[in-house]
Symmetry: C2
Subunit: 208 residues, 2 copies
DNA sequence: CTCGTTCGCTTACATTGTAAGCTTACAGCA
DNA sequence: TGCTGTAAGCTTACAATGTAAGCGAACGAG
């Protein structure tokens, strides 16, 4: 049969398809067979481009990081850092099903290291000593990834959208939570994220 | 056969065994069959006490939270909060293989909500308004869980223990990282964690 | 003693990751 | 043009997983 020439598979295509698939179907639904079908190919064919499923997941993280747009150097260090973490959180919004991979299987790639270098350089140039720069990087990254994950999970363990609505709790045992009733559903998460970010950055400025 | 009376299985025993198993063998190795064997029982017997594997994982998170010791009310709000998050991070050290579950599948239990209430109450009594208390809670929790996860993963994406050692990177492209070479292996993580915690708490005090 | 309930066991099945080996199509050269 | 090496697909096979369905024994209440 004179079949249509099959566009050849390659690593990049596979990874992007995987991200798209997980965006739509969730991480748990991802299997080599289903991903193969998605690409019009047998599962085992994927192994010509990716050594195993773990590497596939790692590759998906790479793709995410590639989408991260790092702000230009023009602005001051504060705004630059703010923008960087906003972009980071945006990733979580755009790919809520993939994002947790980034936290649970962080990348071991040149790309990742380059981001770190860029960050450290910004702080060094702002006048921080090397050690404080490292601490700052880790504090901010911890906060941002923690927040993004919590946001994706809908702030479970708190009675918002979760099974345990505030109103179902006995008021006398949970007064502080009841006080927030109604407000919990309408929290502006952008503002909330900025609040924490501002807290940390202000604290850092203090140390200059 | 007059077999020894088998100690009856129950949910609690199962969950604790699961935590112990994962502590030793890692999360990926946990399967219903292996856990059954560990308890001298067939896999399907577990289903008499736990509806499915997801619920098993959730139960393990409950067990972890139960181990969390909340500091007494005696001290001032700052120290109380500090101590609470230190205890939280301690969980990560004691159960590094289970801890990520807590972040990725946060609990939807009375226990969890009670912790939140306790936290909010502390801040309310310290004089914060309800909304700021909530923001503070989320900022601190995000930071602490983000840090703990990063610590468990060995701060990957940074050239410390990872495959990409600082010394293997071209110095001219990664000056700020090279500057930290040597220091990266000896960072005092306790101090580092306290640095971020202090940053946030100081920032909060400012808002009082 | 009987009987319903609890709880463990057995069997069975669909789905998964992936090893091994086969096949096909094309590139480079004769 | 035909020959051949190689890259990249396909087929088959297997062990491990989560869990549905039904069986049987022990035990507490009447």
């Amino acid at each position: 049969m004179v079949s249509e020439r099959r566009r050849p598979l390659d690593r990049r295509t596979i990874l992007e398809a995987a991200v798209r698939f997980v965006d739509g179907e969730g991480l748990d639904s991802l299997s080599m067979r289903k991903l193969g079908t998605e690409l019009g190919v047998e599962a085992m064919s994927l192994y010509n481009h990716v050594p195993n499923k773990g590497a596939l997941l790692d590759g998906m993280v790479e793709v995410l990081l590639g989408d991260l747009d790092v702000p230009s150097e023009s602005e001051g260090w504060e705004d630059r850092i703010r923008e960087a973490y906003r972009a980071f959180r945006r990733l979580a919004h755009e790919h809520p099903n993939v994002f947790p991979l980034l936290v649970v299987r962080p990348p071991d790639t040149m790309d990742g290291v380059w981001l770190v270098e860029e960050f450290l350089k910004t702080l060094r140039e702002a006048g921080f000593d090397p050690e404080t720069s490292l601490y700052a990087f880790r504090a901010l990254s911890s906060y941002a990834s923690g927040y993004a994950i919590a946001e994706i999970r809908g702030f479970a363990m708190e009675p918002a959208g979760s099974r345990l609505g505030a109103s179902t709790l006995p008021r006398e045992d949970f007064p502080s939570i009841h006080e927030l009733d109604g407000r919990l559903e309408t929290v502006d998460h952008d503002a909330e994220f900025e609040f924490g970010l501002g807290l940390i950055i202000a604290g850092l400025k203090e140390k200059l």
